[in-house]
Homo-oligomer: 346 residues x 5
């Protein structure tokens, strides 16, 4: 996030510092040919965009602000957009600039170690003959897009930059499904249990799931609005033929947001159920204590009564005193048991 | 759901694999004649649409992606729509394409064995002279529609494809009523009970009902929007005379969504009531323990006191010691009982 | 509700069957004359509408579908509207048809026996020279409207069918006020009590009140939208002079919906208060048990200690053993009481 | 509220009957002169409006329906507006009529005796050369407006009826601030306390505050909409120069509604805090009982064991029996204390 | 807040009185030159605005109403705006006046001593050649803006008053990030703990955090609307080139509001988790008491039984009476332990 009062558009990297170099990949293609270059320099990247055909420049790493700024200048990116690229905590959005459309979105993956979501900002610039993407780290979900680019028979190769941008967005949106399915299966694992079978760590698990759902929702809802805005009408950079694809993407996002809301409600319902189960269990335990204590308390009093050492206690010297006392105890407990049964506590 | 990065429009079946064959039914009719063919091939199905009159091609099973794609091509369905047909987890929607309207909806039935909802996606294509429907499994709620098609005097036979599509949608929407009535009667069975009569599995039952209501709502709300959109204005494929019918359908859906919301609120209110009843019951039990324990604890102390074995305890040797001790106990318990009554705990 | 797949517009009665005959009343009036006919036939009813002046045909009973259909045909009612008339569970709405406006609403009364709401569907058709109403049962809240129709000096007699329709709607909306006031007084009866004075059946009472509020809200909210739509602009059937009256009606409905929401919030707040009162009461009781038990438990231990029968217990044979033991007990209980007071539990 | 079926516009007083007379004040002014008449008759009031300049007719009391109707007729008020004036439970609103704007609002004061809100309906009619206000009782918050009217240098004297109406609305809206500040200070008095310091009547206090906030909100929210509607565009009766003042008023109302919402959330948060404090307190008490009981129960068992009277109990006759028993007790309690400390219950 | 009935536009200071003088700073600049004057008089301030170039007049302190009014008159500020400046509790907003745009916003800082938010109203007037700001106290977050003004190469010096106003707004909005991050880290400190590790003051901490979040939200939400309104379209005072900057600001505010909502939900989820942890802990403790009490209660009864002093108790004189009694106790406790284990309470 920005330092208070800092010059806007001053384009400083706002995430955690990193050591590694920024890595730039370039794929330049026409319907007939494709050329993929790994680890190019910023200069080469910008030149590529001067060639006929379409260039996809993918920058992995945004921690070198100077490099990002230089790339931005070569593609004539507005300083405010550059500043947004450098802030890894930005909000998903789509913005129209005179010479490009700028889309901010988040790529979400699950960290298998600690059961948490990792998310990474992706900045996508869609221009006349280039698509420029920035990611925070190496490693992404664009492999299948790259693979299809190499195949001359795919629709992707026949279409313009708008279809490439759509394909990239689609890959990111698809990646949410996996994360959501994983969370869904976690919720379902709890949902099939009976109330009293819910494990003791149910509240913690639900708390963690709800946290991830909140984060996903915060990434998806503004993205849905952004994609719906892109899908609304054709545009200098988006051809009519691409609109159904974008609408489909927007539908997918709507469905994902609804699934998140459904899961959130299910979590809340499960928490209610767990609490009801806990209360019932505690009540069952307390009922046993109550019944045992309530039955034995008067009995123990009777034993105490005839355990007193007064000289003058005629009952003690009566031959039938003991059996009578025992009988009294049996009657007392029978009476209490009957009362409990009448009250349906047993 | 899609594999991340997969080519959009690549039309792969995304549900659980099945062995059985896809089954295609065809009903071709004009106002004067009707011809019903069972289990036709895709080729026959597409040819039917070339005849004069209206064809309803109903495909049961979407697990054979190639077959679905072939049918799609014959009816000139956009690849994105074919992809949607093949994804049985899609969101209800209505989409306008140049040569058809595409409606996705869900058909809901109750599984009588396990008290759960089964739902199945239905894809409906409304074209100039054909209606094409895809279902996941054999068995549907369209029997009465088929029966009416055979009767030359029904409005259905006199009208165009739009009325057939409406009749199919109407049959699906009507099927929700039965499911809802069943859930309503489950809720009502609890709602007529007193707070303390609510069975111990009330939270579980409500949890299950709420789950089904959530699922129904997720199917109905977007469908309502879709039908309301269809009902808004006439169109190349929807004649003005059909609009009141679609508005009526949209009203029915609105009513169903409101009934769901009402049932959800009733469930929440019942859960509150159950919890209040449980708390009251526990409190009543604890009150008995409290009263009995509180009365006997001092009495037992007194018996313990005079059960001590000190040599020098004058009370023990007093002739009236025992009756005085008994009197002390009576007074103590009377005092405590009076206090409890004053505090209204008895 | 409809049977799945049934032909739309097939107009079957969907409520509970009844034996009694359908009863038709007719009031035909001009500014100068009025003619009221009780229990006319459908034929007479429809002829009345051919006379100069305005006819109000009021049909009590919708369980005879044929009769309703015949009446519908004579007034040229669309089959879908007839179907809606025959479904007593319809949603309040206003619909424009070429030759009439159709309003569905609910008339609510309180059943004095079982503290529940009875509600009955009213269908109102507003045409050029007729108002046609359908009710489920005999007995309604229209008496004052009929009375005013007989008085030639009322605005009602001077105005057209729109004002008659408004007067009927107004009578229904006014009837809600009585029901709401009754519920309000039930809530207020609880609201004036202190937290601990709330009766033990508070949750049940609130549950019942909330159920009735939910039902009322479900009837009122769509009706408000419908009336607001009627009040928006003049129309072939609604004259500008009637619009302020409809706006006023819409205001009344808005106020009623707000009162319902206020009462619902009050119910929720009362339930919170009751729960707090119950918790406090339980805590007070447990505190007494805790204090008494905690004080006597060590004392009873001491008595047990000196009630043991070991041969070699020097304290027992000490002359001051008993008073020392008593002193120890006094000190122990004083110490515990001091601790409790320090902790503010007493 | 209206009697069901009563003629609309029949203008009956719907509040509680009162004995006192209706009291009419009149202030007639131009930029140069001012004339204030106390307790005029309806006739005088209406004549005043015929003079050049502006008349403010303020009617205290609406329980004499005939008088109100007569005044209404003299100022050519629509019968529906008169009916609204006579219903003291109306909803705040602004309505445009051909010859006046009618504003309904509520004046709120705190009853210092019983800590409740008193509210009173104010009806304001803004015409070409008159402002007509109706209040339920004597006594209002308009003193400062009257005072400023007497001062020829105030903007109020220079402007038209719209500014007078604005000044009256502003005085009412300002009066809410005092009530809100009072409620705010009540909430703040609780908000500065620690969770366990919250007094035992916190739920009741919050319940009362929430009730007043609900009532205020019900009066303010529709008023805000009404004032925002007035501020939207100039009009025959509202000059452009007055619009900023009305917008400012609308802003103040928006702020008040937001403050109410903030206070409601604070109340809810305080209730959660109180409940948490109560639970913690109960748990602390129960923990002491648990620890003491759990430690002494086995000890008391041991004393009971050696208090048994069997002939053949060798331990009793052992010389070290008593010290060994005491040692056993010390060990038992030490073990239990250690366990509790390990479990962090101490 | 205003005194009821006070003249609108009468411009009285409505905050707490203060002694110190009002302090006025002036920075006048063109692209080529800059002149900064500290502690100027109102007269000098207004003259500055007559010079060529742009003047930023920053007034620290609004408690001297006369001074504020005088400054207002010199810059031709509408009396209503002056009144708003003098009310330190105003609602954030943007208003268009013929000769300036008026923005009210709040500057938020954290008081390091008492963990509370301090907030201060800032009033900003954007005119043709001046920006006029009012703050309540000395000390602000504008240092970096002033610093950049001194540097001739910054965009700020090249642009007009709209960019200066934007820079000031941006500095305020940036200052929220710090506050939010601090609150976020407080929430996160709780969020990483296990349910049973949450400290006992968790409810209080969450209550405090929620209070601050509510206050922030109340400051940010209307500001967001205001900035979004400014960013919507160019204007006499706002050039098209500045719009992307304002949109960016509006995005930042949207993100902050979303972060607040996320934190609020996290707080609620944490409170649920804490409550679940407390309940579990209490239940665990009660279970130990239950088990120990339930096992020893019957044992103690047996000891009491054989501690009775009846003459005729054959068991006492049996040689194996004592071991048999001990065996009975062992069996009883083993039976109860087995029952508990079967019930899974151990």
């Amino acid at each position: 996030m920005a330092n208070p009062g800092q010059a806007p558009g001053s384009a400083e990297y706002l995430g955690e510092p990193k050591d590694s170099n920024i890595h730039i990949d370039l794929i330049a293609y026409t319907a007939d040919s494709v050329k993929a270059l790994d680890d190019v320099t910023a200069l080469e990247a910008s030149r590529a965009s001067a060639e006929p055909g379409i260039s996809w420049v993918d920058v992995d790493g945004i921690h070198d602000a100077d490099m990002v700024k230089r790339i931005g200048q070569r593609f004539q990116i507005h300083p405010l957009s550059v500043e947004d690229v450098l802030n890894p905590e930005g909000r998903p959005k789509a913005e129209y600039y005179p010479n490009y459309i700028y889309v901010v979105l988040r790529m979400v993956t699950r960290d298998p170690n600690d059961d948490e979501l990792d998310s990474e900002q992706v900045s996508l610039f869609l221009g006349k003959d280039f698509v420029l993407t920035f990611q925070e780290h190496d490693g992404d979900v664009f492999g299948p897009v790259r693979k299809r680019l190499r195949d001359p028979n795919t629709r992707l190769r026949q279409q313009g930059t708008d279809f490439l941008a759509y394909s990239i967005l689609d890959a990111v949106v698809d990646s949410y499904f996996g994360v959501l399915e994983d969370l869904e299966s976690q919720v379902d694992a709890l949902d099939v249990l009976e109330a009293t079978e819910l494990p003791v760590d149910t509240p913690v698990r639900l708390h963690k799931i709800k946290r991830q759902l909140r984060r996903l929702r915060q990434a998806l809802r503004p993205l849905r609005e952004a994609v719906a805005a892109l899908a609304r009408s054709p545009d200098e950079w988006i051809k009519p033929a691409t609109l159904p694809y974008l609408r489909d993407l927007s539908d997918n996002l709507a469905e994902e947001v609804e699934t998140i809301d459904l899961l959130r409600e299910t979590c809340q319902s499960l928490l209610d159920l767990y609490n009801a189960g806990q209360t019932q269990r505690t009540n069952d335990e307390m009922r046993v204590l109550t019944v045992i204590a309530t039955i034995f308390i008067p009995l123990t009093f009777i034993t105490g009564l005839y355990g007193m050492n007064f000289d003058n206690m005629p009952e003690l010297h009566n031959q039938y005193g003991y059996p009578i006392a025992l009988g009294l105890m049996v009657l007392t407990s029978a009476g209490l048991l009957g009362y409990f049964r009448y009250k349906r506590w047993l």
